[in-house]
Assembly symmetry: C2
Homo-oligomer: 344 residues x 2
């Protein structure tokens, strides 16, 4: 059978085989025969059924069909950036859970592009994944509703789904950032900078909120010049750090919004003539071997992936209930950079 | 017909719809109807055609069909380890080339398991990728021959294909390791250890060969106790390093066979009371910020991915000619750890 076309009415209710049978004026078994390419249907009937399928935009649940036919089950993982080491342990954890369930994991990366995310997620569905774990780049996931209705279990991880109600597994970005900044304040810092990812990214916004909360709880002002949000490209981060560290009121400490930001800030501080305290969100390899060791707010990337994947297979196994929001705690790991006193 | 849309004919011997029609004793259009699931064929005829298809091993070129239907083109990437940072830039480079060609990249990981690699590669083919970039875990890729004959372009990267003739893009593991070990010898070392990955892995064997070549060229003996091959799991590497660094004739320098080994050896040396020189194969993030900086034999992982992906799209565009073996040079980057003199 050729693939039936992707339904054009994305947000409506999904037509069933019953609807097709009713419209074509045939029995359910006949529709099933046509849909599954089984013999025993006259050309006339097949044409009538096909016309009903086209008119209604009916789409066979390929996943179930794949499983019925005993082909390898698979789940898809939509990543944000293939080269961000944070997603390595997350991906591998999802893969290990998939393997434990006898399923293959197929990945793709949105490269932080919402259109790319949608194209990729739908392409994975068209390639018959049984479920999807999505690290969203966009904030509108209504495009997935037809797939979810068609039986493609979907769990979001690291960032929440947008405009649809779905299972999501997150780290406590707000609480983690607040704790990390409070740690710097506890070590005597009053002028603390925040360098983060694009504000439209949920985790970046939450961590900024945590930074502001910690500053407010200590009755400390936040100068606009201390906060810099944008790309995590090394050049952008370097420029931001240089600006925050110079100017009329240079900061004595920096909170870095994620591991990509932290490693560049570490480079900037290594060239500096005075000690500047640093706490970074996300742990990273070798952070403990740097001098000073880098104090971080660690997320458990593997646990995020494991939890999301297990949630997905619960759904695939028919677990009932409304979508859940699972939030995992973060952990402050002190290694030296976050315990440096203010230089002045 | 799909066949004409794709560069399959460089292989030639693939059964065509004509063959199926002849064997089934029906017309070409009838075969086409069955193959494409179009109406207008009686169950009897359909069964006869299906029998001919099975007997001849005819396989519709699904990729071309997908492209004809205007669905997203895609290529598959079979990785070895999702959590090895070496593959991050490689994957992203493959993805950027795919995107430049309007294709999606779909990844999966073999987790260094040959059966898993085969299962994954075939699953990606079954999901209609137009081409495959494979970082092989196994050494027998004959299982891919039917797919390649069916028009799925395939390029191997990082490690060569086994038992089939295919395009492959490699780094010069032998030459790079030889240069790295010669560098340690040039700095006065005579007792140099080698800690590498499993010897069945092509790159591990080539790097060991390079180590032995450099030692032989300097007329230096290699004691069995100086060479340790196996898993790159931290515990295994730590045990191997401890053994090589103790015993009757402890080494004064270590050559680490890849980045996973290097980062663990760096940890072992950091706890040591005497300086031991280290050169690692593969560069890694922050290597320059460690004290001492870690001297490495760097491969250009992004260039490996880019070259392999471009080769793949050349093939998909119908580039003729026999499979090529492309070998990229490595680069020695001196940062301090490889320039330490012998401790004794």
């Amino acid at each position: 059978m050729p693939e039936t076309a992707r339904p054009d009415h994305r947000y409506g209710n999904r037509p069933t085989m019953k609807d097709v049978a009713a419209r074509a004026g045939v029995g359910l078994k006949t529709v099933s025969r046509v849909v599954n390419g089984e013999p025993g249907v006259t050309p006339d009937t097949e044409r009538r059924v096909q016309e009903a399928i086209d008119a209604l935009g009916f789409r066979r649940n390929d996943s179930a069909r794949v499983l019925r036919k005993g082909r390898t089950a698979s789940i898809g993982l939509v990543l944000e950036d293939l080269a961000d080491p944070f997603y390595g342990p997350l991906s591998r954890a999802v893969e290990e859970v998939a393997r434990a369930h006898g399923a293959l994991l197929i990945n793709g990366s949105s490269a932080e592009d919402p259109d790319r995310e949608q194209e990729l997620a739908l392409a994975l569905c068209a390639r018959r994944v049984d479920g999807l774990v999505v690290i969203p780049a966009g904030d509108d996931h209504r495009y997935l509703e037809p797939e979810i209705k068609a039986g493609v279990a979907t769990v979001f991880v690291d960032r929440p789904a947008g405009k649809i109600d779905a299972d999501v597994v997150l780290s406590d970005s707000f609480g983690g950032a607040r704790d990390g900044v409070a740690h710097l304040i506890a070590h005597g810092h009053r002028r603390i900078g925040f360098i983060g990812d694009q504000p439209r990214i949920h985790t970046a916004a939450e961590r900024l909120r945590g930074y502001r909360a910690a500053m407010a709880e200590a009755d400390l002002p936040v100068h606009d010049s201390w906060v810099s949000l944008g790309s995590t490209a090394p050049d952008r981060v370097r420029t931001a750090a240089d600006a925050i560290l110079s100017g009329p009121e240079p900061v004595t400490a920096i909170f870095a919004g994620n591991n990509r930001v932290t490693v560049t800030v570490v480079r900037v501080l290594a060239d500096l003539d005075r000690p500047v305290a640093l706490v970074g969100f996300d742990d990273f390899e070798l952070a403990d071997l740097l001098r000073p060791g880098v104090t971080v707010v660690a997320q458990d990337a593997a646990q995020l992936g494991r939890t999301a994947a297990e949630r997905l297979f619960h759904r695939l196994d028919g677990a009932p209930g409304n979508p859940q929001r699972i939030e995992l705690p973060t952990r402050l790991i002190t290694r030296g950079s976050g315990e440096l006193p203010p230089a002045d």
